[in-house]
Symmetry: C2
Subunit: 166 residues, 2 copies
């Protein structure tokens, strides 16, 4: 590569080598990101798919199956398998929609909230440590790059939830 002498200075962070490092950082970091919840889930015979469902149902109580599908980006058959076990195990309840009876509104049960808490506590702990180690400015940059990396339709979902109150 050897970006020319001067001139390109400001663009040094766009070299192939810098990009490769970013790609590998993303790969290794994501492993860490999921490691702690994965350990908890393994004991419960659940997988990441269950975690994701629980997370976003907890995040948007009353969400519909369709909405969840577009957030998670899986097929309804795949999601259904996960939801069925969560409902059978009493972590999630599915209510017929009020205004539109074709829809199902999904909620966490008390038990579901407990697991959600346990999982997100584990994940937050690591995230907190990373944030603390890197500092506020780094965190701002972190979020900026991630947002710029999202597909547009997912970015919409992200923005919608980002600004929602807890």
């Amino acid at each position: 590569m050897a970006d020319g002498p001067e001139g390109g200075q400001a663009l040094l962070f766009l070299t192939d080598d810098q990009l490769r490092k970013g790609i590998e950082a993303m790969f290794f970091a994501y492993r860490g990101f999921t490691a702690d919840p994965d350990r908890i889930l393994a004991d419960l015979a659940y997988g990441r798919a269950h975690h994701r469902a629980i997370h976003f149902i907890g995040r948007s109580p009353g969400t519909t199956v369709n909405n969840l599908l577009s957030i998670l980006g899986v097929t309804k058959q795949s999601l259904n398998r996960v939801l069925r076990t969560l409902i059978e195990d009493g972590l999630v309840i599915s209510e017929v929609g009020k205004t539109d009876k074709r829809e199902r509104n999904l909620y966490l049960t008390e038990q579901g909230r407990a697991l959600e808490q346990r999982l997100s506590d584990a994940q937050r702990d690591r995230m907190r440590a990373a944030y603390r180690a890197a500092g506020p400015e780094a965190v701002a940059g972190f979020r900026q790059v991630l947002e710029a990396m999202m597909d547009e339709d997912l970015h919409r979902h992200y923005r919608a939830m980002k600004d929602a109150k807890v």
Copy 2:
């Protein structure tokens, strides 16, 4: 950001809400991160496991199966299946180790390098767009947070490759 009032100013980025946003950003961004290579791989009847193997073999030609295992964090049997198809398809060659004949040194063939290039071009394009949109300071922060999020053993691998020359 519009950080709330005063007081905890410096620690506001460590609130649960900020951490949750980071977690969701990570989730959505990783989907974007893998989307482009995934599309290419789908046409070739390969998956992400193949991509990862090709990436790290291309990155460290002559690497052994064992080394690859510790980087990828899967069982050797799982990796072996992937390697076998790549070898059969002529993308990778496996040479008996010179000093230790138990080992296998892995290399990309010309064809393998071509696919590696195609995949990483696609992934780099998105990464480059994100970097460009976010700017150099944001990128530095991005990398800092990711590194702090890695498990220690993976961080070692990352550092080892980070500083290696192309």
